[in-house]
Amino acid sequence: MTRTQSVLVLADGAVFEGYAAGYLPDDGVTTGEFVFNTALSGYQEVITDPSYAGQVITFTYPHIGNYGVTPLDDEAVRPWCRGVVVRDLSARPSSWRAERALEPFLVERRVPAIVGVDTRRLTRHLRAHGALPGAFGHAGTNAVAAAAATAKGTDGMDYVSLVSTPAAYERGSGQRHVVAVDYGIKTTMVDQLAQRFRVTVVPATTSADEIRALGPDGVFLSNGPGDPAALGQYVREIEYLVGEVPIFGICLGHQLLATALGGTTYKLPFGHHGSNHPVQDLATGRIEVTAQNHNYAVDPDSLSAVVSHRNLNDGVVEGLVAPALRCFSVQYHPEAGPGPHDARYLFERFESLLRGEDLKAADATT
């Protein structure tokens, strides 16, 4: 296949050459915040994860698309990422599960791509300079560079309102009822909850009163995109619920819960995006290999809750627990779509919390 030349320019002026693939936008330019993901498999789940709203995903593994796509692996009804950067996009998929190849999927779901890029150089650049805004496309270097110069990152951005479900829906048929607030919830997360509970997924804008009115046994705060510091309106509703009902938060849900508990968040240089991050449960000492996707993290000094999990690579807070308030949350993705299943026990922990069992805090609180 003959592809059109494309170019990728970061806000700091770094230029990368490639070829246009996937959806080709009319103006030939796509902007967003560039991040990299190191997972070796699970590209479809990553592309359809709403937490990537506003971002362009660089896959560090060179071959993407090898096993095609299947509706079974969608994490949302549509992708919200701005685009993808790939070294080698496979033309021919091979899997008994595959419905079709990745590229027609990208075209149909309007995800632009740039392929043939030295993604390792791009990754090293992002590692050194942090996640950067930028642009790519086939519009020509000048046009792309101009777009890159004005491209925005995710700081201060509320993408939640963009990706959250417009209307509530129910899943599962368990005895206990969980209201899941959708800040950008992944399908696998809903599935994991629905295996255990009756779940009502509600829009992010749902107020505490409206949640109360649903009579939940527990509240679940989902993952989602963007800067938690820009989401004060959601935090306020959580504040009303804390102490009243058991709460479990994941990723953005964890950051919002921490904020509701009086904490603050900060932006990591290039975030954690991959399926291989070692996290230690401080209460048991056990190590979980976890899927992660976050650019922001909770500042431990600001917390009134107890830190329950830490990232062993860099010490970042990965979980917190407030036993008296019957709340806990993790920064990483125990639902694992994609990623290892090591941390799925946390859904059981939520279940036992709803059964009335107490949460345990680690002895080590820092």
């Binding site: 990299f36 071959h63 150089r121 590692r127």
Partner: protein, 1095 residues
């Protein structure tokens, strides 16, 4: 709680000689383990019979025993050293089996030795297929339907229940020996019989064959807190049905969705937990049905394996090192990642490149074998290549094999172009070493990707990638390559095309291609860093590709580049890796940066911690030139590339010497290397020096060869120039045989066709063969001042005519007179002077009636360098490197590094070759001028007899101390055989002999107890094969002659292999065995460590 302090001394068992299925990967893992345990402050006691290993260097462990890996020997060592713990998981199946034997014999209990790394119960569960199957059923995992049989009747009963096709696997075997697939009752009965015989416990698994399913392997680590990580996933390109060791494999898995991969990961952890591997590395193999995703567990190894070496090199995660730490109590999160040095080992490596492994076979050395690959591993080595994508890594891996192929796309010389379509389909469907190249031809002819995938069972993704390479190849054929722009160059480079490939395909000169390409698409070197660039890498482990950015860091230190020896093959194996690793060690000691280039994933040289920088690259002129250029470019502040060492890695780097600037070649100049190889030049040197050579000459054509042979007289030794390991070497006794041999060598599809063929610059060498001469090897080092140190003189046990690599040899020499030894010293010095050697030289001699003939000289490291080093305690390779860099032997003598005179130890060391015949039942075991051994062992004793007896035990067939000896001797050997028979009778053996031999012995007054008739004809006496099968014979001495007896001999030797009876095929080996048995009887054995011997 990290390190255990309740244990102090830890015993590590190595894996013994290099055999098919167990190669240098265990030197790599064992060496890492020893280093780590010593770093942790433990006293390490090491046992291994293989002298060519780094692990048996006296500096690797505290106490090093080069002794046979045998229950009684190990028991004695344990009694002597009283280890607190025994680590069995790093020495392959050999160490695991021996550990189980020690446990069963109560030795570990008696001496209070704790087995660490894997508990005996866990080993039992993983290794015993019945227990394993039950364990998998416990945790709800599927295994192929199967049953166990201990005899053929049982086996048939199970087979009838399961239905064809059926796979037979013997219990407790390594590398799948004795395994095979049967499609009918007849094949099945034969396989079952062989399998039961091959299994040490006489048991086989009869199993549903799932040939054609996709095959995967996960490398798992677990610590004692039950933390588990996957280090690497590996996908086989060849579907189930071909042994993993014989499969082309790729890391990471390419065609598994995350959903499937994570489920497999969960299963792998469940397997480890159920089997009970508490700490360390294991691998779990899976088969996946390509159309339904059904997943079955095939097997697991509760130890470090060949694939863990591959996984370590593929990811930068050092499995053996970490397994050793886990075994002494550390948790994964208490160990730092070697490469990032900032993050813990409790993570899962991710990579941003593709790794391809291709095995290398030696069928050309084993005439009579079918070269069809199956469930029994047959390869002798492997290469690994790293590329940014599959195509690049595949093309790189193919050129790493050094078989004359430039990559997957061969250019105009398509080797299967002549085959008709049907034959070609057959070559694609049946797995053989050439399958990949047949696939290329099929794609070239336009067969569809779907059809090829369907007919071969190879995943469509891989075939599609290959098809893309073929499309690029077609484009290049008509392309105006010298006018390519940067993007176009980049595109072809990224599909793995080299300059020489582009030149050949497009019909352009390499020089033009290189000139056009270099500026627009320079080669860049990326880093293997375990984390896909997420963290900074402290360890410079590089691979070449063509991208935007190169990551080689500049430095201001002078550096030396060492070219490694590439894939293991018969004739070029671990001995040369040993030399290269030593070079790296000494260069670092001397203050140079050492830079290693190699592509063999099994080795210590490709451990990224061995050298200052590692380039995991093919050893081709082009790839090496890029590394040299990158190193030169990375020199700052006046630093320089001092030179390239080409003389320590065998023939591979030596062949590259011509492609480097002469000023870059360290040590012996290229011209001297050529002088030794060039027949006429070499003869002139010998004549000038007045040294006697067997008469000889060179020939390019058959007519010339016949003329030469007539002139010098038969028998004639025929061999090509520039080959190692006696490749294609034969002794011919008449013109008819000479015609056959020449045809084989020079034909269009001859043995040398792909290596450049025969030409005036690469002629065939013909020499008069000296019958009944003693062969001698001398290793020496000469410095720039002309001083020479003769390091060791080795006398071969087998007579001249048996390849030196297949012959046993003794140091010091046992039968040579003082005057002969003095002559050998003198000749060696003069030859080294005349050639202008700087560094190592090996000279081979034949001694007949006290007269010394020079056979050949090789101004490079020989196969015997590590043996001599261990036999004399002098680090030869290191001295050679010092000398190459300008130090003098005189200064090294002053420094105490080189002894004043050639050591004359008061003990005898015997090196014995280990041959792969148990893998190739159809190959005759007679030794000849073509080398066929895969490895070697060393026996050390107070006398030659004891050292020889130890070497036999170490090689796998210990000599008996009582019973019956079966003698079947060629006429010319009967006189000599008398001495053997007499000595054995004196030792209380009874004699069985063939009619002719028996007649001769009886006529000389000796008692022959059993008369043996022709095989299959019991009229004249007992049937030899039956005697061997029934265990009525404990030792066989069978020297070959011609005619019918030859056929009989082959059957006798085959029976010995099958039933594990020692079989000696030369008279001298028979004599040595008799001495060995006598000395063992008289003096008994003692074990002594190298540290004691070298004082």
């Amino acid at each position: 709680m990290p390190r255990r302090d309740d244990i102090h001394t830890i015993m590590v068992i190595g894996s013994g000689p290099i055999v098919i299925g167990q190669a240098c990967e265990f030197d790599y893992s064992g060496t890492q383990a020893c280093q780590v345990l010593r770093d942790e402050g433990y006293r390490v006691v090491l046992v291994n019979s293989n002298p060519a290993t780094i692990m048996t260097d006296p500096s690797t462990a505290d106490v090093t025993y080069v002794e046979p890996l045998d229950l009684s020997v190990l028991t004695e060592i344990i009694e002597r050293e009283r280890p607190d713990a025994l680590l069995p998981t790093l020495g392959g199946q050999t160490a695991l089996n021996l550990t189980m034997a020690l446990v069963r014999a109560g030795v570990t209990e008696r001496f209070g030795v704790e087995v660490i790394g894997a508990r005996p119960e866990a080993i039992e569960t993983a290794e015993n297929r019945e227990l394993f199957k039950a364990a998998m059923a416990d945790i709800g995992l599927g295994v192929p339907e199967s049953g166990f049989a201990h005899n053929v009747a049982e086996a048939i009963e199970i087979a009838e229940r399961i239905g064809w096709p059926i796979i037979v696997r013997p219990s407790y075997i390594l590398g799948g020996a004795g395994t095979g697939i049967a499609h009918n009752a007849q094949d099945f009965a034969r396989l079952a019989t062989e399998g039961i015989a091959a299994s040490p416990v006489g048991e086989i698994l009869v199993e549903r064959s799932i040939a054609g399913w996709k095959e995967y392997e996960l490398e798992v680590m677990r610590d004692r807190h039950d933390n588990c990580v996957i280090v690497c996933s590996i996908e086989n390109v060849d579907p189930m049905g071909v042994h993993t060791g014989d499969s082309v494999t790729v890391a990471p898995a390419q065609t598994l969705s995350d959903v499937e991969y994570q489920a497999m990961r969960d299963d792998a952890f469940a397997v480890l937990r159920r089997v009970g591997v508490e700490t360390g590395g294991s691998n779990v193999q899976f088969a996946v049905n390509p159309s339904t995703g059904e997943r079955l567990v095939i097997e697991m190894n509760p130890r470090v394996s060949r694939s863990s070496a591959l996984a370590s090199k593929a990811t930068g995660f050092p499995i053996a090192k970490i397994a050793a730490r886990l075994a002494v109590g550390y948790a994964l999160n208490e160990i730092l990642n070697d490469i990032t040095r900032s993050t813990p080992a409790s993570f899962e490596p991710v990579i941003d490149y593709v790794v391809t492994k291709i095995p290398r076979w030696a069928f050309e050395k084993l005439p009579g074998t079918s070269s069809v690959l199956g469930t029994r591993m047959q390869s002798v080595g492997e290469v690994m290549a790293i590329g940014r994508n599959f195509a690049e890594s595949l093309q790189k891996a193919i050129r790493s094999l050094e078989q004359g192929r430039p990559g997957f796309a061969p250019g105009p010389n398509r080797e299967f172009a002549d085959l008709d379509d049907d034959t070609l389909w057959h070559r694609c469907v049946v797995a053989t070493p050439e399958r990949l190249y047949a696939l290329h031809e099929m794609l070239w002819r336009g067969a569809s990707v779907e059809e090829i995938a369907a007919r071969t069972g190879i995943d469509v993704w891989f075939i599609d990638q290959m098809a893309e390479i073929v499309i690029r190849e077609r484009e290049l054929r008509d392309a105006d390559v010298v006018n390519f722009d940067a993007r176009t160059w980049r595109r072809y480079r990224q599909w793995g095309f080299t300059d020489s490939q582009v030149a050949a395909i497009s019909g352009t000169s390499v020089e033009l291609v290189r000139a056009a390409r270099t500026a627009l698409a320079p080669v860049t070197f990326k880093t293997v860093d375990t984390c896909a660039a997420e963290f900074d890498a402290a360890t410079p482990y590089h691979y070449g590709t063509t991208e935007d950015e190169s990551e080689v860091r500049s430095s201001n230190k002078d550096r030396v580049i060492i070219l490694g020896s590439g894939p293991n093959r018969i004739g070029q194996g671990i001995e040369f890796d040993y030399c290269c690793v030593h070079a790296s060690y000494v260069l670092r000691d001397m203050g140079y940066e050492s830079v290693m280039v190699n592509c063999n994933p099994e080795t210590v040289s490709t451990d990224y911690s061995t050298s200052d920088r590692l380039y995991f690259e093919p050893l081709t002129p082009e790839d090496v030139a890029e590394v040299v250029a990158a190193e030169q470019a990375a020199c700052v502040d006046g630093a320089r590339v001092v030179g390239v060492i080409v003389s320590l890695g065998g023939q591979t780097p030596l062949k590259l010497a011509h492609t480097l600037g002469p000023e870059l070649v360290l040590g012996t100049p290229v011209s001297a290397i050529d002088a030794a190889e060039d027949r006429e030049h070499w003869s002139t040197i010998c004549n000038d020096l007045g040294l006697r050579q067997p008469p000889g000459d060179v020939a390019v054509t058959l007519d010339e060869a016949i003329e030469v042979a007539e002139r010098i007289g038969y028998p004639v030794l025929v061999r090509p120039s520039y080959v190692l390991g006696g490749r294609a070497m034969e002794i011919v006794y008449n013109e008819q045989s000479l015609r056959r041999v020449m045809n084989n060598l020079t034909g269009a599809h001859g043995a040398l066709a792909r290596e450049g063929g025969v030409s005036a610059t690469r002629p065939i060498l013909l020499d008069r063969f000296l019958e009944d001469a003693v062969e001698v090897d001398v290793d020496a080092i000469r410095d720039q001042s002309g001083d020479t140190y003769v390091a060791g003189i080795m006398e071969h046990v087998e007579e001249a005519g048996v390849h030196s690599g297949d012959s046993a040899c003794a140091l010091p020499p046992q039968t040579l007179s003082q005057s002969v030894i003095a002559t050998l010293h003198d000749y060696t010095r003069r030859i080294a002077d005349a050639l202008g050697v700087v560094g190592l030289v090996n000279v081979q001699y034949a001694v007949k009636n006290d007269e010394v003939f020079v056979l050949e000289a090789n101004p490079r490291a020989s196969r015997t360098v590590p043996f001599v080093a261990k036999a004399t305690g002098v680090p030869l390779a290191q001295i050679a490197v010092r000398v190459m860099l300008g130090q003098t032997l005189a200064s090294l003598r002053d420094a105490g590094v080189v002894p004043a005179t050639t050591p004359n130890p008061d003990y005898v060391s015997v090196k014995e070759a280990v041959l792969p015949f148990n893998r190739f039942p159809d190959v005759d075991t007679i030794l000849g001028p073509e080398m066929r051994s895969t490895g070697e062992v060393m026996g050390i004793g107070e006398s030659f007899g004891i050292a020889f007896a130890k070497s036999q035990l170490a090689a796998g067939t210990g000599l008996p101390d009582s019973g019956q000896v079966f003698l079947s001797l060629a006429d010319r050997d009967k006189v000599g055989g008398l001495a053997i028979a007499r000595q054995l009778l004196d030792l209380g053996f009874t004699i069985a002999a063939t009619v002719g031999t028996a007649g001769y012995l009886r006529s000389n007054g000796l008692t022959v107890t059993t008369l043996v008739g022709k095989v299959g004809l019991a009229d004249l006496g007992a049937d030899a094969v039956t005697l061997i099968a029934d265990g009525a014979v404990q030792l066989v001495v069978n020297t070959p002659s011609g005619g019918d007896a030859m056929v009989d001999g082959a059957q006798i030797r085959h029976a010995c292999i099958t039933h594990g009876v020692p079989c000696l095929t030369t008279l001298n080996a028979g004599l040595a065995a008799a001495r060995g048995i006598a000395d063992t009887r008289t003096h008994g054995w003692r074990v002594r460590s190298l540290q004691e011997l070298h004082g």
